[in-house]
Amino acid sequence: MGKVINIAPVTRIEGHAKIAIHLNDDGNVQDAFLHIQSLRGFEKFIEGRPAEEVPRIVNRICGICPWMHHLASNKAVDGAFGVTPTETGHKLREMCQVMAHINDKILHFFFLAAPDFVLGPDADYSVRNVIGVVKAAPELATKVVKMRQLGQMMLDKFAGKAIHPIAGVVGGFAKPMVEEERKELLEGTRTLLDFSLYALDYAIENVFNKYMDVIGELGVIHTGFLGTVDRKDGALRLYDGKQRLMKADGSYVDFEGDQYTNYLGEHVEPWGYSKMPYAKSWNEGFDMNLAAPKGIYRSNTLARINVCDKISTPKAQAALEAFRSSFGRPAQQTLLYHYARLIEMVYACERTIELLEWEGITDPNVRAKVEPKAGRGVGIVEAPRGTLIHDYTTDENGCITKANLIVGTTHNIAPMNMSVKQAATTLIKDGVYNEGLLNQVEMAVRAYDP
């Protein structure tokens, strides 16, 4: 009877999970699991609620990406009520969503992931954290804190709340943008764009070039990918577009969001509360076997960077080209999620500027006429952690009768389990392991930003 190493809790991630590594009698890895520890029940307790209230309830699914739930939910309610938001309402929502991506990426890369690279994976746990980064690189840390705060406060001031937003409404947006706000947001976003370019350069030099051997090995698995692309030209999209499901060999199918049930299924294992979405349309079932996975695809930054044909903004497109020339398409190395995250941050800044420069952005016509009624709507946005699906059915009073949610992180639960197993198997041999090695197993999880 071998033993079990419990890494609990998994730290510097945004949820509740533990890792259990099972060793056999020889001290080699027999199996490894990422157990997801929490279940709250949003799909059920929104039943009966008036649908227009739901976007300000489901944002509590995630305090880090509340804008994503808020807006996917608004899109689903639009669909159920048969409303098309006004063009300005639609673009104000997109601006908030894309801007929220900027802050999320700063948070994840610099606050949560960077300690492993700046201080090193083997640094003592008491310093291998953001506080350690502040002490080791005070100038960088101060800049990061300032930039994140700038982005958060821009959203907070314009939309009332950055965390658990309320300004998106069925039919559009709760308030128009006035010229003064537009100018201020534009100035702030230009500062963030400069920072995002700096961050990308910094990371290429200090992380990706330096840790190339680790990137080539740690948590590497071979899977398909899911993301959202522009309906016309296949460019990266975060707020709206068609879904693209790619196989590991790079071939793909595109589909409209409301067809998701034909393409995706959710597998359940008895050892974790999170469901595990898989590609049902591949007709090969579900299997997390490392050598021959079945139905497994990944979401989040690396997936989006892999599935898109291009990026519509120039600086992010240049970064994508450099990335592809080094790693190909699709790139499978798990730690490249970080690289893709920083490319997306550049896009998010450029896209926010584009939206703010659009002449109609200050138009006061921000909300279409809404009438609660029976219907069904599927709302999809790309959350930082993956394709986020809200699917609501309403009754004649416009109250929810049924809801199905597929949350961004869950697409990556099966892949994270595989990466954990891959990392643990490679790192732990003959019963020899230490804190630094176990932290590297966690790094394979952190890359997915769960």
Binding site: I5, A8, T11, R12, H35, S38, L39, G41, K44, F45, P50, E52, R56, I57, R60, I61, C62, G63, I64, P66, L107, F111, L112, Y125, R128, I131, V134, T142, V145, Q149, Q152, M153, A159, G160, K161, I163, H164, I166, V169, V170, G171, A174, V178, E181, G265, E266, H267, V268, P270, K275, V366, V370, E371, P372, N397, N404, I406, Y433, E435, L438
Partner: protein
């Protein structure tokens, strides 16, 4: 060396943790000098069972200050909360989930077992899937606020809590004084124009935008209740205001009560029904009245509806 501090999250969404980060530039001296953080899963790598995972008892280091977010909905939350109480001199419940149950306590209005079964039998879930039970913490019978399970020394609600108030609580503890916190209602901090009782006898759903002049100051907008919208400002604790107006009001959106009741043990639903009735507004015009308790459903306030008995006939 700063004041030793342990942080934990129970059934939470991490919004409270993000609110802590939103303290902004003052955060750097707080986390590097004022506090000495010894345990905080979101930020640092201290583990429950030793750094190499070979311990058997869940252990959190001793600390002067403990900050807990999230409500208590499963046995692991309870174990962590009890360990925090054991190890921390002053225990703070941060955020409305920790103080009043918050949104996850909406589950208290339903049959939990039946709901969970429904979650594992959706259109996309593989047929025959069962509720997971291996290596996952078993649920409690309902969602609890922290003070229903252990003694809490200080409560700071908000969904999310206001970063300025979080900083105030931390600094007051370090300086050994009482924190300065707002004790009034959202209405008391709301600058909108009140013109007195009007012709409103019903509340309307929020499916049209409120009446206001874009770009004009908030105090030029009429009170949203007087405009006929359900606004929970009268029955909700103050604290969200950041730029001279409650957060939602500043976005021209009515309040939904996210700081919980004005008095710790108040009942937002009953208080709001009373407020409407005393203003001559028909409370039956509020669709889905139970969701007025959407942020404060712990403490036994929100319970499953009895079968067969129609809701609020």
């Amino acid at each position: 060396m700063g004041v030793t501090t342990a942080m934990e999250w129970l059934g939470s969404c991490s919004g409270c943790e993000i609110a802590i980060l939103n303290i902004g530039e003052d955060l750097i001296p707080i986390i590097t000098e004022v506090l000495d953080i010894v345990h905080a899963p979101v930020l640092m790598d201290h583990k429950y069972f030793g750094q190499c995972g070979e311990g058997v008892t869940l252990t959190i280091p001793e600390a002067v200050v403990g900050i807990v977010t999230g409500g208590v909905s499963n046995h692991e939350h309870l174990e962590v909360l009890e360990e925090m109480r054991e190890k921390c001199t002053v225990l703070i419940a941060l955020g409305t989930c920790a103080t009043h149950g918050g949104i996850p306590a909406l589950m208290n209005g339903q049959d939990r077992q039946e709901s969970w079964e429904g979650i594992f039998s959706t259109e996309t879930t593989d047929p025959g899937a069962k509720i997971p039970t291996i290596e996952v913490p078993a649920p409690l019978d309902r969602v609890y606020a922290c003070d229903e399970k252990v003694k809490i020394d200080m409560q700071l609600p908000g969904c999310p809590p206001n970063p300025a108030l979080i900083a105030e609580v931390i600094m007051s503890l370090v300086e050994g004084r009482d924190p300065v916190l707002p004790g009034k209602s959202v209405c008391d901090t709301c600058p909108t124009k009140r013109e007195g009782k009007g012709a409103v006898d019903k509340v309307k759903r929020f499916i049209t935008n409120v009446d206001f002049v874009p770009g004009a100051a908030i105090d030029e907008m009429r009170c949203l209740l007087e405009q006929g919208y359900l606004c929970l400002g009268p029955v909700t604790a103050a604290g969200c205001a950041k730029r001279g107006a409650p957060s939602c009001i500043s976005a021209r959106v009515p309040c939904r009560g996210c700081f919980g009741p004005v008095r710790k043990d108040g009942n937002q639903l009953l208080d709001m029904m009373n407020a409407l009735a005393s203003n001559g507004i028909d409370y039956k015009s509020v669709i889905d009245r139970r969701s007025i308790l959407r942020f404060s459903g712990a403490h036994g306030k929100l319970r499953p509806l009895k079968k067969r008995v129609g809701e609020e006939k």
